[in-house]
Amino acid sequence: MRSFLYFLLFMVVAVMIVVLAAILGDEGAWYFAWLIGTTMIVLVSAAGGAMLDATEDQLARRQGGDPAGHG
């Protein structure tokens, strides 16, 4: 029951976002692009950091050392 209520809540939120995004996309396409673009820039940058850790861990495992970044 609780999960279902949460599902309903988030469904309502999702529908609201769709409506708002539709309006924003219509009236202010650049604003919409900014929202999406900023999110993407931040997440790509974050993924870049995580990727560096992954490569270093791999490298460390291959050499049998202690993975870096856990300091």
Binding site: E27, I41, G48, A50
Partner: protein, 536 residues
Amino acid sequence: MINGTVVDLSRLQFAATALYHFLFVPLTLGMSFLLAAMETVYVTTGRPIYRQMAMFWGRLFMINFALGVATGLTMEFQFGTNWSFYSSFVGDIFGAPLAIEGLMAFFMESTFIGLMVFGWHRLSKGQHLAVTWLVALASNLSALWILVANGFMQDPQGAAFDPTTMRMHLTSFQDLIFSPDAQSKFVHTSIAGYVTGAIFVAGVSAYYLLRKRHVDLAKRSFRMAVLFGVLATIGVVTLGDALGFVDAKAQPTKLAAMEGLWKTEEAPLPLNLIAFPSQAKQRNYGAVQIPAVLSLLETHSLYGTVPAIDALERQAARQVEDGIPAVQALEALSRNPQDPAALAQFDAHREDLGYGFLVQRYAPDLARVTPAEIRQAAKDSIPPVAAVFWSFRVMVGLGLAMLAFFVLATLYSLRNRVQEKTWLLKLALWMIPLPFLADEAGWLVAELGRQPWTVYGVLPTWMSASTHSVGYMAFSLIGFVVLYSTFIAIEMYLMVRTIRLGPAEPGGPRDRESAPRPMLSGRPFAAAPQVAKRED
């Protein structure tokens, strides 16, 4: 009557304080999202190095932020203190986004920044991350409303002049906030801030990598910054193009000045890559041109043209002549707001009211205006071409240089070969001043290119200033110069000192995080509540 020296000094003061303020703002806009990115990695992967990163860059962020806030105070009040006619004339429209900025963005930013700095141990990981994201979002929303206000100055949408109140009135809030100029300008400026933040973080990280200090922190910061930066720079260039496209329609005189277009030509128009424009002779010297590129850039078509200065001046002269009866009708309405003849005359000429004001600078009594004065006013309608032309080229040149740097740096960072490439690291260090220069140049293009108007086509700059004495203006200008010079010296000193000192390494002498001492940010989460407790 209005004193021309006072207007010039007011302009100088506004430009100086705005350019100064704009040294700090872009770094705040960009670094706040970089901090959010770092902390996002910390919360998702749980690796403490990312928390150390967020904290260290957060310290530099705060040094910059303090001056951004301080100098922003000046901006908020300067419209009233030095541009009082402007403020009363368009406050109905221009004031609203400034007030909304305070309500929606600045309050959020300033309240949560306290928690971002002091709340590391008092908030859960998720809460602190949310706070950091809110700070980043709020600082950029703040830019949004400021640029909506600025967009109105560039291309007044959603407003009309009301002769009963002698002021501009808001007619459509939607048109104001969704004005194409406001939109593209906001995205362009905000993302230019991201580029500034990315160059700064990459440059400082390069400094550590060159000296082999804090290597783990620095190479992660470098990687994140260059990825952030490469995408942001692409965005800035795209939006710069969009802004040019918008300006071609909304601000033809700015565009003509940016490109040094003196004479009307047939499409396709060539681009002046380099030229030395002369306002007096109305021509360029030493022009290096690329055929057809300007038509492509500004109209996205080979067959499009944009108006040149000769045509724009002729049009302005016609508008000045049409604006004169509008101003005369307005004077009659000021004496008697119900005068039907004056109202009819005003309605017939209202579109060109601003151009009537433009010539009033030379002919306070418009009944005795001469053709020479009308020609002079029409000439005034063109911004200072050489300054706008070169600011634009500096901005674009620096932008493209940063794009090239980021592409290169991303390539080497993704191959994990940055540390070997000392030339790249040195280059990164030397890149630090570039975005700041580009930001300032961009401001100059936008605001010099808007001249002679404070509100394009509606309100001339010469009318907008407060009626102060030269003495007052000299006093305030000297005061600002002294204060601001002191501040920048202190800021640079602290910035460099904090960078030299570097982040506190875990277990090192300055690592107070892991020491078992009570801390301001680290008091237990369930400290006794303070509410209505007796003090004894």
